[in-house]
Symmetry: C2
């Protein structure tokens, strides 16, 4: 059994990621108490009902005042906007983490903040297309990477505690710069999400135009569009905040898709086979 | 218990589809005996070992001579080439089906064949990225569509028997023309496979160019590239045989992807949100 790492953990946003982390924090005995706040109050009620949190707090301010670890699981645009204010209130020894999918704009927003070192930027590379407290599952982070970003700007003691937290819940840690992170996430996650959304839209419109009966689809299409069920309110800001790297990743993919198209159009079996390898 | 529909079923190609159908035929008691032939002889041996078939035959000719239902589970290019010869040998009452993913070139190849009516073109919209006899699973076709193509060119008795077979293994039947089939399959299956292959290639090359460490990927990328593990020997001929409809489907997708790109590039949140809906 790990020693308790934290007395009180406060989670802002108890959905898929925040809620799953709450479950693991409880399972591994990493905190004495878990507080929660959610923009949609019904979600906070549900999180309480599910036992994800011990207590629902009335405001983010109340949560910040009581927590020694603050987990910010919010849409990336709101996070970049609010993090400086949250850090204004940081008390000695208090640690803040996020779990968002874009990092450059976030670390830029607090670069010069006097309490910057209380914040450790984290990106657990885990999730599903589901959302809300009912989407929370045990061991979501086990054997998945959690990326720690620009750790040289965080206090070593904060990085140590946060690393212990992630390791205890089974994550594999890697460190990188915000620039490398956003490029990596664009290629491995954000661009594939754009493809899924674009494919889902293509099929839906083709069906609406009566060119297609999509109920004939097999498992392949379901795989390819699963992540297009991810919430727009979360993913639209990600696409916006990681615009540069995302556009580069889309352009790269489009070049390969054009290569495939060309090889099919010209009956170039050798080229096509080479591309498929 | 269904009455035995067939005395002897012969399966050419005992892989994912042929092997899974063999399992169901046995489970539902649809044949007295199941014969198998495979181009890769080791696969026929393995199919025998797994109990998918009762007997391995030495040649396709021997299989045709003994089977009252012949299931042709072969790459679509070989099928279109060989089906006329197979039908040359058709005996009265003997029924042939295929399970391939493209149909226009296939039905064109036998359009004028004197024994055309012995053949019922079928496309079960089910599968996985795995291949070979070890990929065979029970109930693969249950609650999935099987499309029957150009049934007006098949003998009603053959269509009836084949329909009974598919219904017994749990498939939902739909009929359509070869043209509608190939357009439908291009949009729902072939184009998504091209995207998966192109995405897998994009990531692989980005990793090779050291712009990326792909082991950081989460579950989204795995979903999006799962079907890119499908065998090239099966999919390359599908892409070639359904060239026209596939190119149209790729072009349609590319237009939507360009719309997404444009909305991201111009920070048009309203348009982006509308596209994602």
């Amino acid at each position: 059994m790990e020693e308790l790492l934290f007395n009180t953990v406060g989670i802002v946003g108890i959905g898929l990621i925040g809620g799953s982390l709450a479950k693991d924090i409880r399972t591994f005995g990493l905190a004495r108490k878990i507080l929660g706040w959610n923009r949609t109050e019904a979600h906070a009620d549900r999180a309480l009902e599910l036992g994800l949190i011990d207590e629902k707090v009335a405001s983010i301010e109340a949560l910040l005042a009581q927590s020694d670890l603050v987990i910010l699981a919010m849409p990336v645009n709101i996070l970049a906007e609010r993090l400086p204010q949250f850090l204004d209130e940081a008390r000695p020894g208090q640690v803040f983490i996020d779990v968002g999918s874009t990092k450059q704009s976030l670390v830029d927003a607090v670069k010069q903040h006097p309490n910057r070192s209380a914040f450790v930027a984290c990106h657990p590379m885990a999730g599903t297309e589901r959302s809300g407290p009912d989407a929370a599952v045990d061991h979501l982070f086990r054997n998945r990477f959690t990326l720690l970003i620009d750790t040289e700007d965080s206090a070593p003691s904060a990085v140590h505690k946060v690393s212990m937290l992630w390791k205890t819940v089974g994550a594999v840690l890697a460190s990188m710069s915000a620039e490398e992170h956003d490029r990596t996430a664009a290629l491995l996650s954000h661009m594939p999400h754009v493809l899924a959304y674009a494919l889902a839209r293509t099929i839906k419109d083709a069906e609406r135009n009566q060119a297609l009966n999509a109920r004939f689809a097999g498992g392949g299409l379901a795989s390819m569009t699963r992540i297009a069920h991810s919430p727009i309110s979360m993913w639209l800001p990600i696409f916006q905040q990681n615009k540069t790297a995302l556009l580069a990743a889309i352009d790269l993919f489009q070049r390969y898709l054009s290569d495939f198209r060309e090889a099919i159009a010209t009956d170039d079996a050798l080229r096509l086979s080479d591309l498929m390898k």
